[in-house]
Symmetry: C2
């Protein structure tokens, strides 16, 4: 087992990465607050792991709340089902919520924990690669609004994160690739050496080689933990973690949440960010090809939806959280491993980028 620490002063917490962690009561126990535990999961994950996790918390008063599976359910109405479960079972302010699932379950459970009785404790048990390497770490919680992704939320750090690599055995290939998109992101924004390693080892990752997966999760979490420790509330460098997300969030919202997986949309978004960086003479064509190749090798989509022309992209991108004084702020690349945040882009070049990535071009 590997242990990483997210260094946030009194809100610091550990990330545990390894095999067979779900049943390790003595590992998790120090992070439980109160005597009541609400395990929140979804209809896909619960049949696989819920009983095991319930046993791990058997010395507490355990309740469960099972939500439908999918990004299309990440909204206020479904979060209210968690509040219903908490109040029906008379959960007190000193209690612990446990998020057992992927990024959607983690984001909604975290938001419920941030706002139930103005804030209670929660533990992240991510069961997808994407959640293990990204969304479970860093305290961003929230839900979507039909007009924009993650528009309603709060910063609320978990007590700890338990990344049990065994849970990836049950992940389908599409979800695995979606997680790899966020892994590639760390290489692109700040870790060139890792990017090169990923280029060499992509087939091993797709084949779920345990050593390759473990290394990938650890190195990704290390990158994420460093960025979050430096800038918890995204006043500066944390925004580079959003590489590809401005384009990606627009794709998710415009196509209807759940049709594109978040990681798929981010993968295509990173291609587009690379392309725009190149058109702006910041990034070499050779680097753009490396990005294209690795996204393709990860079996991620490389074209945006055909119905998303410039106007559609602009409609959704203009309500992105990164908009400031009317200008969209993009994360762009100066090289593999070097990112910048800028709102100083040429709209004509942005139009070219969007057009060049249409599914029908």
């Amino acid at each position: 087992m590997q242990t990483l620490n997210v260094d946030l002063g009194e809100r610091s917490y550990p990330i545990f990465i390894g095999k067979d962690l779900l049943r390790q009561t003595e590992l998790i126990e120090p992070y439980v607050i109160g005597h009541q535990v609400m395990i929140v999961s979804n209809e896909t994950i619960a049949p696989l792991y819920l009983e095991k996790v319930k046993n791990t918390f058997s010395q507490y008063e355990v309740h469960t709340c099972i939500l439908p599976d999918g990004e299309q359910y990440k909204n206020l109405e479904v979060v209210n089902q968690i509040f219903d479960a908490l109040l029906t079972n008379r959960f007190e302010r000193k209690c612990t919520l446990v998020a057992l699932g992927g990024g959607v379950i983690g984001d909604m459970t975290g938001f419920a924990a941030a706002t139930y009785q103005r804030g209670v404790a929660f533990i992240q048990i991510p069961t997808t690669l994407l959640a293990q390497v990204d969304s479970s770490v860093g305290g961003k919680t929230g839900v979507n609004h039909e007009l924009g992704k993650n528009m309603i939320g709060a910063f609320h750090q978990p007590q700890c994160v338990i990344a049990d690599t065994d849970t990836l055995d049950t992940l389908d290939d599409r979800q695995l690739s979606a997680g790899i998109a966020e892994v590639i992101k760390y290489g692109l924004i700040r870790d060139k050496e890792f990017f090169t390693w990923l280029e060499t080892n992509m087939q091993k990752l797709l084949a779920r080689d345990p050593a390759a997966l473990a290394y990938t999760i650890e190195r990704s979490c290390q990158n994420k933990a460093e960025v979050v420790a430096e800038d918890e509330k995204e006043g500066g460098v944390r925004a580079t973690l959003n590489l590809g997300h401005t384009f990606g969030h627009a794709i998710e919202a415009a196509t209807g949440y759940g049709n594109w997986l978040h990681g798929e949309a981010v993968g295509t978004g990173m291609l587009m960010a690379g392309d725009l960086s190149c058109r702006m003479s910041m990034l070499t064509e050779a680097d753009v090809h490396r990005i294209d190749n690795i996204i393709d090798a990860a079996q991620l989509p490389t074209r945006s939806p055909s119905k998303m022309d410039y106007d559609v992209f602009m409609k959704y991108m203009s309500v992105d959280k990164k908009v400031e004084a009317g200008a969209i702020r993009f994360v762009l690349l100066k090289a593999i491993g070097k990112s910048v945040i800028t709102s100083d882009y040429d709209p004509a070049l942005l139009r070219q980028t969007i057009t060049a990535h249409h599914a029908n071009t």
Copy 2:
């Protein structure tokens, strides 16, 4: 104009109290973030003050969101109307929400500000006595759930509070008395001198004597600001501000939000807390009579709803935020001006208190 400061380090902010403050652009301007302003109000207040406040913000891009009036609308569904308005008008992270109304508008607008894009700025412009002396100060925001009052929320401090005493001219008598309940509370929990002043000056307050009202608001805000500065997140002494609220929240929830005003329920709740304190031999009968007399003089109800027997009270009080390890934590009184928090009460005496205050007893 009086200025009080709520001392919370980098989250400190001023409370401005005085006449004709709504139109003072230069007073408010330093507290506006960004160039977009969303004024949230309700159907009762908007016809009275919205145009005036819009003019005050005329140099910004101003939008408005008018909600229905009443505690029964303080829920997630209605908060979503604020999110709709923000997203439809493409509000950015750097923007300012303005709460123009009573406690319900302040709580909902504050919660929307706490969670829109994971937190944006807001300004409180309270237009009821209750909001001016209590709910607009201290950063508690949130909404009700049908099973419990204020169960969903966040701590989120405003940029400033503008208490324009002119707005009280349009307040109806019932709302005025409800506000006086929270004023009496400060006397009871920590300010005996103020309590004595209130006993002497209650008729002036009910007659809306401007000097009496101004003094009352200032002294109440001073008390609130001191408590909040000492204990922002309610780890200790702040909980004493909940005197009467455990009983009161149960009355509000059980009778259906909006039927009893919050201040009315708190008024009756304070009587019950005083009665329980006396039965537990903490408070003299003479002090109980003083409490009974002042609540009655403030034209507040002195009996709980007849349908609320012991079991109904216990059902609702057991999901109160102050419950810990299964035990209800009451704020009780040792004297006028001296409060304690305890979960060490005799259930038989609690039953006597509840029975003694039935409307039909």
